[in-house]
């Protein structure tokens, strides 16, 4: 099943709640409901790759001469790849800086905080 596309649809928080998702933020979030290819087995799992594109001016914006990525990250393992031609100048979490094969800079880190980390990363455009 590797790489097999899965059916999904975007549902409202209320619909997610009716489907059994009863969480603190259920009503205020919308959700991608993904139909799994098989029920999750006992002591097993179903590995997924979810791709999506966000537009959020509050999380990715220009601040002065900088391109700023500011986002609360609940997932522990993260990588942020900046556009080509930008260099990282500030990062408020311990991270690795890696140059991708195409020249883009990647900020990679794993945080150990019990709650989400508010990551703020700044980059500036390199002179041509």
């Amino acid at each position: 099943m590797t790489g097999r596309p899965l059916p999904f649809r975007v549902v409202s928080g209320d619909e997610a709640r009716r489907a059994g998702l009863a969480l603190m933020r259920t009503r205020t979030f919308s959700y991608i409901r993904i139909e799994l290819p098989r029920p999750v087995p006992d002591d097993g799992g179903v590995r997924l790759l979810i791709e999506k594109t966000y537009r959020d001016p509050k999380e990715l914006f220009r601040g002065g001469d900088f391109l700023v990525f500011s986002r609360s990250l609940g997932i522990r393992r993260n990588a942020i790849v900046f556009p080509a031609g930008y260099e990282i100048v500030a990062c408020n979490v311990p991270a690795q800086l890696v140059r991708e094969s195409d020249g883009r800079m990647r900020v990679s880190f794993m945080h150990g905080e019990p709650d989400a980390v508010s990551a703020v990363i700044r980059a500036r455009k390199l002179p041509r």
Binding site: I50, K58, L60
Partner: protein
């Protein structure tokens, strides 16, 4: 107990009575009390049901409240957090603080109240890669890898944050 099993002098029994008193002393200790921000998180390698993680988010930590919570046994199996100023103390399940949980067949929250046993995790081994798109567009591409591990679940819910416009969604089974 080996020296390596200790963490800032707190042993695995430190959250038990009278161990709670030991935690209180740690919290009020000179080094931590003066500057809690130096210790953003104390995560002793506890493995017992009484395990907890003590986290500092504010210099004004409600130490006595936490001691009382521990003494009541309400911290058992939970993470005791010191929230930001102005927020109430809370205890959360001793696992990732995530909201996008799904229990098989529905009917569960995946989030326990204080005093309740922690619900089993419904996802694991998560990794997110953000690819920032053209500057000025405020758009970024997200590749999120996750293992749905709630036994019996037939669907998985991935949240779309409030305030974010999502597009170009695709989902693949990779294993």
């Amino acid at each position: 107990m080996r020296r390596g099993d200790q963490f800032f002098g707190v042993r695995p029994d430190a959250v038990l009575e009278p161990g709670a008193e030991r935690v209180r002393r740690l919290l009020q200790g000179a080094a931590v009390g003066r500057d809690p921000s130096r210790f953003p998180s104390l995560s002793p390698p506890f493995h017992s049901a009484e395990a907890c993680v003590v986290s500092f988010f504010s210099p004004r930590t409600p130490t006595l409240t936490v001691r009382r919570e521990i003494a009541k046994g309400r911290a058992g199996g939970h993470r005791v957090c010191f929230p930001h100023d102005g927020q109430r103390l809370r205890a959360t399940p001793n696992r990732g603080n995530r909201d996008d949980r799904l229990l098989p067949g529905g009917g569960g929250s995946g989030r326990s109240s204080p005093g309740q046993p922690a619900a089993p995790p419904v996802e694991s081994d998560e990794y997110t890669r953000y690819e920032l798109l053209s500057p000025g567009s405020s758009r970024f591409h997200i590749l999120y890898e996750v293992t749905a591990c709630a036994a019996g679940a037939k669907a998985y819910f991935n949240p779309i944050r409030k305030g974010s416009e999502a597009s170009d969604e695709h989902v693949f089974a990779t294993g």
